[in-house]
Amino acid sequence: MKYVIADRSKVLSYGINAIGHRSKEAQIIVNEKELDVVPGDTLNKRAKAVDGKVYTATGIKRIINEGGWL
């Protein structure tokens, strides 16, 4: 499964509930299934629609471990 660091307000604008999600300043982490509500035929396109970038599980854990994520 892939994960996306995206713009929090853009993610919320698609009806995704922010409760329980890791966030840092204006960014939020969602998983690929949560982005299914965002238009786009690939994960990369859906991520781009919310100003996001796609990561593997290993990659995103590395970023989380750098700190600052609630």
Binding site: G20, R22, K33, A57, K61
Partner: protein, 411 residues
């Protein structure tokens, strides 16, 4: 001077409290998937945690309770894992690989107060049963109201290539509606001599709504369907952690084989079951699946049909009940409904005559009058859908059987 004092209080209506459990992260749910090929959990709760919320709704009939959503006044909040307070549970005291707590409880004053956010991934071999307990205080009446949610289970499905799985060829929520059961009607008609027994008619009546429910079972290793190497067992779910094995011939269980389970749904009001394929030679966990059976209580209308006047010479009165439901006439409604015949007259109300689809009663018994002002009679039925059948037993609990030793049931 003498005085006499009496203290009176405002008589508030008691608080009606409802609590439900909601997963606020439906795409990080209670069930995870473990992919052994890349050793990853999907989703990984360290990245997208799961949040469960005990929603508390309170209301007073007199309108004296101001806030319907009552989470923000929760106190003494505790989450329990397998009956142990979560902070004391040895599996939940560690940290994630990133050094964060495995869980947090929302202690804010917001509407999500009490929510549990979980960052722990559950190995496929483990499962945890969780529930929430707390208190809300009603200052109007000076009472504390305990809040306890239902249990829910955190578990993980193993999707690796050699994982075992089980599926059933039926809904996981099976509904039984006696109004739609043609086999039940066929049995009734045969038993009452209304039609002759016929294997063809019986087969035609045994459709997807029949009380005899065959639940087909398939066991897979990865994508390969297995025909051997396992034994199917059926359990009744008493609670999230308590199961009782039930075997063929017990109550509603007609038969159990490795390919199907047959239940008699007439004996079930509401029940949860667990099917487990006990593997003969494997160190992997036995695949299992839970399903439930519910009885449907369909809306209906039942009424007397005899609209003729009473002649002075009449001594008895006959009537028959007519029942319809969802636009269809219900045949033999006494098979499904408990129908009690009653009459009211000017001098005797609520007189009960008999139970059944029709009635014949003595007109004199109703105390009907002889004059214009009192020579009327209200004939009516009181009805309810019959409950599930149960085994017929004597006072010592011994089963009544037919001549072939089959248990008799009744409702």
């Amino acid at each position: 001077m003498r005085s006499n004092k009496k203290r009176i209080r405002i008589d508030y209506a008691p608080l009606n409290v409802a609590v439900s459990l909601e997963c606020l992260t439906p795409l990080s749910p209670a069930l995870q998937v473990f992919n052994a090929d890349n050793n990853e959990y999907e989703p990984d709760r360290e990245v997208t945690p799961s949040t469960f919320w005990p929603q508390v709704v309170a209301n007073a009939n007199d309108g004296s309770w101001p806030n319907q959503y009552a989470n923000f006044i929760l106190t003494q909040m505790h989450w329990y894992v397998d009956g142990i307070e979560i902070s004391q549970h040895p599996d939940w005291t560690g940290q994630t690989s990133g050094g964060q707590a495995l869980y947090t409880i929302d202690e804010s004053g917001s509407s999500s107060r009490g929510a549990l956010t979980i960052r722990k991934n559950v190995p496929p071999t483990k499962q945890y049963t969780l529930h929430f307990e707390g208190i809300i205080t009603d200052p109007r009446l000076g009472t504390n109201i305990p809040i306890v949610t239902d249990d829910f289970i955190l578990s993980t499905e193993d999707k690796s290539e050699d994982a075992y799985s089980i599926s059933i060829g039926d809904d996981q929520i099976i509904q039984y509606n006696p109004f739609k059961d043609k086999l039940h009607l066929y049995d009734y008609k045969v038993a009452h001599g209304l039609i002759a027994a016929s294997a063809a008619a019986e087969a035609a009546a045994t459709d997807e709504n029949a009380y005899l429910r065959t639940i087909n079972i398939d066991v897979f290793k990865a994508d390969t369907k297995l025909n051997s190497g396992f034994t199917i067992k059926l359990y009744r779910v008493n609670s999230a952690t308590s199961f009782t094995e039930i075997t063929a011939g017990t109550d509603e269980v007609i038969s159990i084989s490795n390919s199907a389970i047959v239940l008699d749904l007439r004996l079930v009001t509401k029940a949860d079951y667990l099917i487990r394929a006990v593997l003969t030679d494997s160190n992997r966990p036995d695949p299992q699946l839970q399903f439930s059976v519910n009885r449907v209580y369909q809306n209906y209308d039942c009424r007397p049909t005899n609209g003729t006047s009473i002649l002075p010479s009449d001594e008895q009165r006959y009537d028959v009940a007519m029942c319809d439901s969802e636009g269809q006439l219900v045949e033999c409604p006494e098979n499904i409904l408990k129908i009690i015949w009653k009459t009211d007259s000017a001098y005797l109300a609520n007189l009960e005559h008999n139970e059944g689809g029709h009635t014949v009663f003595s007109i004199a018994k109703t105390k009907i009058g002889k004059n214009f002002g009192d020579d009327w009679l209200d004939v009516y039925v009181e009805t309810e859908i019959k409950e599930a059948h149960c085994d017929a037993t004597d006072e010592n609990g011994n089963d009544f059987t037919d001549e072939n030793g089959n248990d008799l049931i009744f409702n």
